[in-house]
Symmetry: D3
Subunit: 139 residues, 6 copies
Amino acid sequence: MTVCSRNSGESRLERGRRALAEIDGHAGEAVVAALADIAPDFATYLIEFPFGDIYARPGLDLRAREIATIAALTAMGNAAPQLKIHVQAGLNVGLSRAEITEVIMQMAVYAGFPAALNGLFAAKAVFDACPTRGESQPV
Amino acid sequence: MTVCSRNSGESRLERGRRALAEIDGHAGEAVVAALADIAPDFATYLIEFPFGDIYARPGLDLRAREIATIAALTAMGNAAPQLKIHVQAGLNVGLSRAEITEVIMQMAVYAGFPAALNGLFAAKAVFDACPTRGESQPV
Amino acid sequence: MTVCSRNSGESRLERGRRALAEIDGHAGEAVVAALADIAPDFATYLIEFPFGDIYARPGLDLRAREIATIAALTAMGNAAPQLKIHVQAGLNVGLSRAEITEVIMQMAVYAGFPAALNGLFAAKAVFDACPTRGESQPV
Amino acid sequence: MTVCSRNSGESRLERGRRALAEIDGHAGEAVVAALADIAPDFATYLIEFPFGDIYARPGLDLRAREIATIAALTAMGNAAPQLKIHVQAGLNVGLSRAEITEVIMQMAVYAGFPAALNGLFAAKAVFDACPTRGESQPV
Amino acid sequence: MTVCSRNSGESRLERGRRALAEIDGHAGEAVVAALADIAPDFATYLIEFPFGDIYARPGLDLRAREIATIAALTAMGNAAPQLKIHVQAGLNVGLSRAEITEVIMQMAVYAGFPAALNGLFAAKAVFDACPTRGESQPV
Amino acid sequence: MTVCSRNSGESRLERGRRALAEIDGHAGEAVVAALADIAPDFATYLIEFPFGDIYARPGLDLRAREIATIAALTAMGNAAPQLKIHVQAGLNVGLSRAEITEVIMQMAVYAGFPAALNGLFAAKAVFDACPTRGESQPV
């Protein structure tokens, strides 16, 4: 699955909004809303560059992109709110809980056990909050 | 593709050696050899835990595992030798150069442009060194 | 603005106390007080080296020094309490909210969007807590 | 003090459980229990590799190993829960509060004052929670 | 000094090219050229987002922006090539060597002495390579 | 072993010079010399705060302090020159090669295998360069 079809008449902002809605759902909208009174331009950049430019590119499907993002945020270990959003995003684009858990566990090898543990507990918080999502896909 | 079939009679070390050979090829063997006179036990742990335990797990195929590793090592930005080994490993398990490049580019969003740039140049060094590998797979 | 005039008869500790009061205000005193029963010597080092030695140096004004500190703490992404203190310190030494917001937004380029987002939300918490400070200066 | 005597008939998991109980006490068991419903295999790896393989090695006593771990977790600055567990573990294996405080203070040199400050406050939280432990040893 | 006047008819790419040339000079062009055969789209993003969007914003002058960038790259400690480019960029936009040195020294407080030392040696390499630049401006 | 006896008439700079010579030997002097023409004041700070203040404190012996430093620099993974200096410093203050190797191996648990591998190769470079030092102590 990539971000639907690209429409050549669509602006970066429009394409980004579509990708953000598809990937992050309400959590993405909440971040954009929270930026409104401190840095509204930054909300625009956030929609345009990561979502309008990067996630909308055709060369890698959204499952693979979310695997990459969950891995990176777990390994960096300093962005728990964003990791939670992308655990949910991973479920949204079709990763199973088991697959997300595998990605995070693997980070123990590259970033150490504390990073992996904190990543697993972040994932658990997301899984517990939406008990029926993400398990319709067979692993 | 996962690490072939798991053989229940196989030890972690044997399974790890098989996974290491399949994924990292000669580069993995070179790391193990380089450890021989400073920390030979560490070479054993490196084979057993990352490769015998983690990469050999069935829940995620090796293409997905290398996407996760390339993403994390790019984002962390402090492990250039290991990133190069895993760019090659990504090619070995069936990722195309274009897919690897997509993963690294995406890291600009999560770890900044310098991390992505240094990752791209590491990948380029690997691609240039083995000009005919990794492009037989369609993107 | 630099740390007032240097007085040659003044000790590092005295000069540091003066710089700390001028830059961090009550937040700096609170950190020093919190250290009293676990590591009082560390409170002394904190006053002497960062404030008595570094911030008191004449070669860069305090606005520039706070820009540097806010940038670094945002980019590192693992020191939220200190980032908040320095957002307030930036206001104290004459940076506007808009300037602080610009510095933090810029970190998306060097440390990724999550670091910048978390920095913006830390700044927002400081701005919201003291609604009338920091905007008397023209940008 | 190292992890008691190694018993050649003991498995990595058994040796790891013994080391974990000796070093981390209840906190280690709590982490393992918390993993049970998200990643039980990861709990096994956590016991086997860090504790069954590394901490059980004879070449360095547990006091020295905890000094190394407290230093690293303070310097990395992104693993507060694990740092607290290892401050307690340091007390468990015979480090005094004063020694732990020295290690954390020293990290200001290598990872900056914010990392050291956050480490000191994490240690203070552990010390305050168990007021009578860890001070029977002379510094 | 900000990026000249913004011209409303100018595209992000055009504005970014102008900002990149003004700030990074030949070093920026070299990075863009080096990306040409591995990730040409990434060169476009690099011009558009950091330079066309962020550096071209009016709220902070280029001297302040380079102080922020030099501070962040020094503190992160894993992007030596980019730090060197921005030390040169700092000179290009009017920072003196002494000011750049102050910013880097200050990072010892926030990221530790090794980060500051490596930053100072990176700056020295740039200063030594272009012995007559950057000192025409009074501090 | 701590830094000899503290002499109350001694300045921080004098005490720091003595500690630096004892711990880092020629490597420390080389760093100070290299700073002379870019940031001579920073050389003073480097002697005064880390060595005159921290390493000279009586609460932890130099073996323990070097264990902490080697652990932290290995885990941070972005300060190879300083890690090499402290591997040598560890030998200087009485750690054996085997003990240093144990500390670095342990970092695989907290910072991942790449950090530990790069630390081991840094240590090997130091050990190979001075083949007869550091092995007089029994492990």
